[in-house]
Symmetry: C2
Subunit: 340 residues, 2 copies
């Protein structure tokens, strides 16, 4: 364990001042070429890296941003993380990741943690159970750059990156209708989250716009929008005796669960029931029949989120005003074998 190399060390070795060493390393124009060369050579020789703690304290920046998501183990969110990390790193930022586990209380706590760590900015996708947004507005009050993505709140004035859930669900449902379905069930998410509501509304509008009858009995709730929820809802649907020829599920997982239940009941997909998922998770191409779905650009969303955050951080540093931007990303229908 050797001693840490500091500016002071280099200065002493070279018999010059700490100030000059610091300036030389940062290529200040008021340092002679010869001095710069000598300092850089010595710094390299000693394998000098500036003490980040000291730099942070002086510059009041940590070059670190925080990210809060509901869950890490989730294809969509891990894609977002991927996009954020990639983009952040290219711009010299590191990313601290925390999860809210879909809990409002935990979400508040994680925000406080990030604030007390003095991250330069925060990106967040809200927990399903979050209804109140004071903790998010608090971030704005402290003048910390903030970007929300996917699960956002209209009540927080900050930059946002989203998809148009309503339009995407409309397209998905229309795809079912166009392929001949006339009685289409919908497995929706919980009542609270905005994207659960929006996907439901998109479904409903598509039904009504195309001369079909909206039947509330065909709506089932998948609280956790996962595989098991999809299974339960499909079982209930069958038990309820509803004759349907199409199903639009809020996630690929729920759709996969439903398809497997249909198979167990010898209901042919897509011949008897066509099934649409949502997200285009990896899973959708591996199941049989391969799942038709809506592609939700997670990686893109991550990249774009960091980009907006970066813009805002830069504006803050340079004391410029920054106006929040909302970016809506494109989704597209991916047709596979589960629909005609």
């Amino acid at each position: 364990m050797m001693k840490e190399v500091t500016l002071k060390q280099i200065a002493e070795n070279l018999g010059i001042s700490i100030t000059t060493v610091s300036k030389a390393l940062k290529d200040y124009k008021d340092v002679s070429k010869a001095t710069k060369a000598a300092v850089k050579a010595e710094a390299k020789r000693l394998n000098f890296t500036p003490n980040a703690f000291a730099v942070n304290l002086r510059t009041k920046e940590s070059k670190t941003v925080g990210l809060i998501i509901p869950e890490v183990v989730h294809h969509f969110f891990s894609s977002v993380i991927n996009g954020i990390i990639d983009k952040a790193e290219k711009n010299g930022y590191l990313v601290i990741i925390l999860q809210s586990n879909e809990s409002y209380e935990l979400e508040k706590k994680q925000i406080d943690l990030l604030i007390s760590k003095r991250v330069d900015g925060i990106m967040i996708s809200m927990a399903n159970t979050t209804v109140e947004v004071d903790h998010l507005n608090h971030i704005r009050d402290l003048n910390i750059p903030l970007v929300m993505f996917d699960k956002i709140s209209k009540l927080v004035p900050c930059s946002k990156v989203v998809i148009n859930d309503r339009a995407a669900a409309y397209s998905a449902t229309k795809h079912l209708i166009d392929s001949g379905c006339r009685r289409i069930a919908h497995f929706r998410g919980a009542l609270l989250p905005q994207n659960s509501i929006d996907r439901f509304l998109g479904y409903k509008k598509a039904i009504e716009d195309h001369g079909l009858v909206f039947d509330p009995e065909l709506i089932y709730i998948c609280e956790n929008v996962d595989y098991d929820d999809g299974r339960s809802a499909a079982q209930k649907l069958i038990k309820d005796g509803h004759k349907i020829d199409g199903l639009f599920a809020i996630t690929d997982m729920a759709a996969a669960g439903a398809i497997n239940v249909f198979k167990e009941h010898n209901i042919a997909v897509p011949q008897e029931i066509s099934v649409m998922g949502f997200s285009n998770w990896f899973l959708s191409q591996a199941i049989t029949p391969a799942l038709s779905t809506v592609d939700q650009p997670g990686y893109e969303m991550g990249k774009k989120s960091f980009k907006l955050l970066h813009k805002e951080m830069r504006a803050k540093r340079e004391d410029r005003e920054f106006l929040p931007v909302t970016k809506v990303l494109e989704t597209k229908i991916i047709k596979r074998q589960s629909t005609n």
Copy 2:
């Protein structure tokens, strides 16, 4: 934007010294009860949080650890992340996550990044292409606590958390043999990574231990161990005209790809060919037939990794010696429908 609250601010408001304020907040025993109460009340009133940058500089600790994994978008690694984040947070640490994208060069760069950020410790799972380990030993040289998990190197003297890949692969192959398979193919990973080698060796040993003949022609390489690789290997296997009744694939993804190819060729799974995967990713229960596999405890591995790192960080802080520990986690066979 209000002014930052500092110790100085509190001291001035109360007409006492900064030293006393600092000590009062940290419950030093040599501060009077009355003073402590007053200081705490004022701190609370002003919503004081210590400036983390200053604390870091003084204590030479950041209460932040770094994590480097090959890829974030990966069921197994995201489970590990989950375990690490959970455990870290409970102990007051935040986690910076970086990915190597299976690149040795990037892995080196990420390590340098974390070192220069002065994280208190590093956890890493090696990239497949990493053969040389100087950059890892460099972490040790700097006396930074280090834990390797899953993809480790024997050449780095540090704590490790792994599964016994060889034994797990042996059990998986034995499961196929016990269920009646006599000609078992193996889809292995690239030649370099240790766990690809170990799983292959476990497979080979099981074959030989049970009176079967090891046939190198039945070994196919899945470079990226993913769905498409599994598909290609299965297609090649069929084209090569090999008659097999069992397949042990290095990952669930590769197994899923193979199963789908078998289906397309009207080969019944498990009646004609039994298939074993490895990892117990979510996917394995959603495909048809549901995949028999080896459960690899990702969340557990993450928790244990942080736990060991934490121990080492504590030992370092208290200037105690710490001897590296290697922890081998249990795996288990999960029997589903793809095997008899």
